[in-house]
Homo-oligomer: 565 residues x 2
């Protein structure tokens, strides 16, 4: 089944729901862009997803990456697709014009990312890591490094990798052991071993630029003693040509449940030459610059795979004949059965709300990075900080659930490999784990984004939402939403007031709290979408309010029970 | 990590919670059994699971079944393990003594099944289908067939397969097309093609006895025109020796998400000789005899894999050092983190309650099949009918969730194949689909087990539970449970009163209703377990009431919204 890029629904968000053109108009960097351009880009992205990426998705899964003596070969067609990706300018969409990027807004890019993840999640990861690398360098590297590396990363001629995890240090990066010895020429020699390095080695680019966390000899223990280094696979000469092979090598690749066409590498460094980025012991701080972007990107993997699974399940449910239904002669398509309807509506209601949240968050990222108004930047930074862990964790938890439902719609045909539905589940599963497990996201939300600012970020967000809701005309749902938001606020205040110092209690409720907040936000987004009067949105909104929002009641009760409220 | 058979928790259920020895004492067939025997069998089963089945679980997944020109080869070690399984008497545990079975109670057997599914789900399926076949033949075949086939199926010398699904007929068996032509000698010639036939071909037994649904030439359309046939792979001579190869052959095997060591076959019949079982057009009725047993068995796959995943996650969480915790010098084991605790407790609370429900249901099956008291039989049949879809669907939905959580505890190490955590997820996933999808289970529950008897079965069950609860001493939890059961009852009555004729509404809420009921039953079982005073049970009960039972509130609200209540 061919992927159908949901350009209409995306343009509906851009124009009718968020009116991005007007919202971003005041920002100089975006002043020349309009909705027509956004539409054209989405159309092209859809074609690229359907024509280039989707055709090698299942074969990529079947074939996987191959490892032989340090060399990683990507599955058939990946090199060519990557070439087309670079030539189409897809890597440079949001990158700074100064280094050859197109400077387009993140609120548009999230939609392109969603499409590409729908069509081929493994493929997307290579470019996503590259984007993380150049955003990081742009923010923290000195001009020499920028001049040498940025243009080639932005174009996609070279790719990037993020080398954080070690065998004994995953969620807890503070205990990592990779060493960086300063050299007389100002460079460093790195030694150590990293695992789970996505795109750490492959055959699609001439060079790979690794961003590596390591410790200097004098580093204090824990997270404050971590520094960041750029370690190229091949050294780069002053004229930009490639020099000698650096001492950073792929030792093996992992055999995984899914995303099999994405290479997941053990990366060994043996006196590899590196360049410090952002100064000594500033590694984690620098890393966090790009972490928000990467986390949102991984969230979109959840939305994208959910959309893909939904499209296939919807088609299958229309084609597959089983059982009787009123008004149908003979055997009915299974979409006529209530339980199948429930499954499809659940998939759709979650996926479309996720897409909306992604654009909403994307717009705040655009303001945070590009607005010249300090007040706008500051608020947007807060909103992006608050919403990023919600997006990453909820999109991916729900993405996995949605893909599982899509597989269920296919019955036994969903369990065999042939139809590809089980691949979506396997591919979606990783998104709950990498780029910070969803448990870590939940702790980030409750600890850093709620408790540490005493709920100020949430309060800012709620003020915005309530202002917006004033114009809503659907009184009955508005009342439900208003009370939902009040309960969210009041529960959050109680957490801040009584459990700010109780890390244990925070941990115990973190995941439930994140889901509770996300469902509340989805309710707002659904009502906002329904208010436009667009066909079908009111029904989906009602379905969400009736059938999915109630999950929030259970979560609230669970949190209250844990906290003794 | 080696599987640890949870014999203690199992004996706790047998003795302290359900007092099976006394409950079954009055049944002649079980009069010679006692708890000591049950304990000895569980100990042996545990050794078999750990020593024989678990060691070939991951290799079986890696290697899978191989197909070559009609011949299916099981993975290395499976033939030998099957031989040990037969020699150990594991196939004949609950079968009738008349044909060489050991006649042990189902309430014990469910625990053995759980262990075997924990250790190697693929392996278990072969024997589970054989058991389904001999229970069916025992109930519906004539003496000639019984004498010829039962002893060899019960011993496991031959295996069984259930041939129901066709490419266009899955949940809707009424439209199946396989034809059976009556012959002058009283046999039939079958032609047609079946798919998704578990154990339909393999190399572990000399003969495979297929039970095939097909249509006679004069059959009425729909489910009432289906007949059941015994179709052996090799014809059986009068002296019991094997005769000529029958025209039933494996055309290919499926490539699946999981249970890769279980052969899932396309079975083609070309004038295959078959023997009718149970008379013309009685096929579905006969099939349903064994369906309850098969469904419970598949439910146990969910419980078993959940237990396995829990054991590994628990061990890993004790070993894996990440982050700080109060009172721990240096890096703490992740089990000290609240979010990990929540995950482990969720896994445990669900799995142990599932095990309890399995024994509870097993005891009713024992009474239904073996009691000589008609009133006992009738009530037990009702309870088994009511609880079977709940067990099948909830055990497996939760089994998948629990395995997913277990994988999450491992972080990235859970996503790579090495540790085996992702195999549990893939193996568990099928259990929600086969033996009647969980959607079908939910429709069975609400349609046939609630609405069609106007809630009488549920009312009988609730009366039992309330009687039992009178002796409970934990007043505060008893109040919560009592109100939960009242709400379940009142919602069920409303469904019966207002939606008996509304199939569509029933479908829309069926899955939510099943989960809602299951959570209510788990609450009862947890309080019942806690009442024994056994170590740790009270804490788990509290966790269940605080953190998991609240899901039921959300489900209730969702159902009420859908029904406009």
């Amino acid at each position: 089944m061919q992927y159908q890029a949901p350009v209409d629904d995306m343009m509906f968000l851009i124009k009718d729901v968020f009116d991005l053109e007007n919202r971003l108009k005041g920002i100089a960097d975006f002043s020349e862009f309009d909705a027509e351009l956004y539409n054209a880009i989405l159309e092209e992205a859809g074609k690229f997803a359907t024509g280039i990426l989707q055709p090698i998705n299942r074969s990529g899964d079947e074939e996987g990456c191959q490892f032989d003596d340090g060399v990683v070969t990507t599955p058939k067609g990946f090199k060519e697709a990557y070439q087309a990706y670079v030539e189409g300018g897809w890597q440079s969409l949001t990158a700074s014009a100064q280094y050859g990027g197109q400077g387009l807004p993140k609120s548009l890019h999230v939609l392109v990312e969603e499409m590409f993840y729908s069509a081929n999640s493994s493929f997307c990861l290579y470019g996503s890591l590259t984007a993380g690398a150049y955003h990081l360098l742009q923010a923290h590297a000195d001009d020499v490094i920028k001049d040498q590396y940025l243009a080639k990363l932005i174009s996609g001629e070279w790719s990037g990798s993020m080398c954080l995890t070690e065998a004994h240090a995953g969620s807890d990066l503070g205990i990592l052991k990779t060493k960086a010895e300063p050299q007389e020429d100002g460079t460093y020699k790195l030694s150590g071993s990293k695992i789970f390095i996505t795109g750490g080695e492959h055959d699609m680019t001439d060079n790979i630029i690794h961003l590596v966390l390591a410790r200097l000899p004098d580093a204090p223990a824990g997270p404050k003693g971590i520094s960041l280094f750029l370690v190229p696979k091949f050294m780069v000469n002053d004229d930009g040509s490639l020099g000698e092979r650096n001492g950073i090598r792929c030792g093996s690749i992992e055999h995984k449940m899914g995303i099999k066409a994405s290479s997941t590498c053990v990366i060994n460094m043996d006196d590899a030459t590196g360049f410090i980025i952002g100064g000594p012991h500033q590694g984690l701080r620098c890393m966090f610059t790009m972490m928000n972007l990467e986390r949102l990107s991984i969230g979109l993997q959840g939305v994208g795979l959910g959309e893909m699974s939904y499209q296939q399940a919807f088609d299958y449910a229309n084609d597959r004949l089983q059982g009787r239904a009123e008004g149908v002669e003979g055997t009915a398509p299974i979409i006529r059965h209530g339980d199948v309807q429930r499954m499809l509506k659940t998939m759709q209601a979650y996926t479309q709300a996720g897409r909306a949240l992604a654009v909403w968050l994307g717009a705040w990222l655009d303001e945070a990075f590009h607005s010249e108004d300090e007040a706008v930047v500051s608020k947007a930074q807060n909103m992006a900080a608050l919403l990023t862990p919600v997006a990453k964790a909820f999109f991916t938890d729900i993405g996995y659930e949605v893909c599982t439902i899509g597989q269920q719609v296919f019955g036994g045909h969903g369990y065999v490999r042939e139809w590809g539905m089980e691949q979506h589940v396997r591919d979606a599963r990783i998104a709950q784990i990498y780029e910070g497990t969803n448990g870590i996201q939940a702790l980030d939300l409750i600890g850093r984004k709620i408790v540490s600012n005493k709920g100020a970020f949430l309060s800012e967000l709620l003020t915005d939402m309530r202002d917006d809701m004033q114009s809503f005309s659907d009184t009955s749902h508005k009342v439900i939403l208003a009370s939902q938001l009040e309960e969210l606020e009041s529960l959050s205040i109680k957490i801040v007031e009584h459990f700010s110092a109780d890390q244990d209690k925070q941990q115990y409720i973190a995941c439930d709290y994140l889901h509770y907040m996300a469902l509340s936000l989805y309710a707002y987004l659904w009502l906002k979408m329904a208010e436009t009067g667009k066909d079908g949105k009111k029904e989906s909104m009602q379905f969400f309010f009736n059938r999915l929002l109630p999950r929030a009641y259970g979560l609230k009760k669970s949190i209250e029970n844990e906290l003794g409220l």
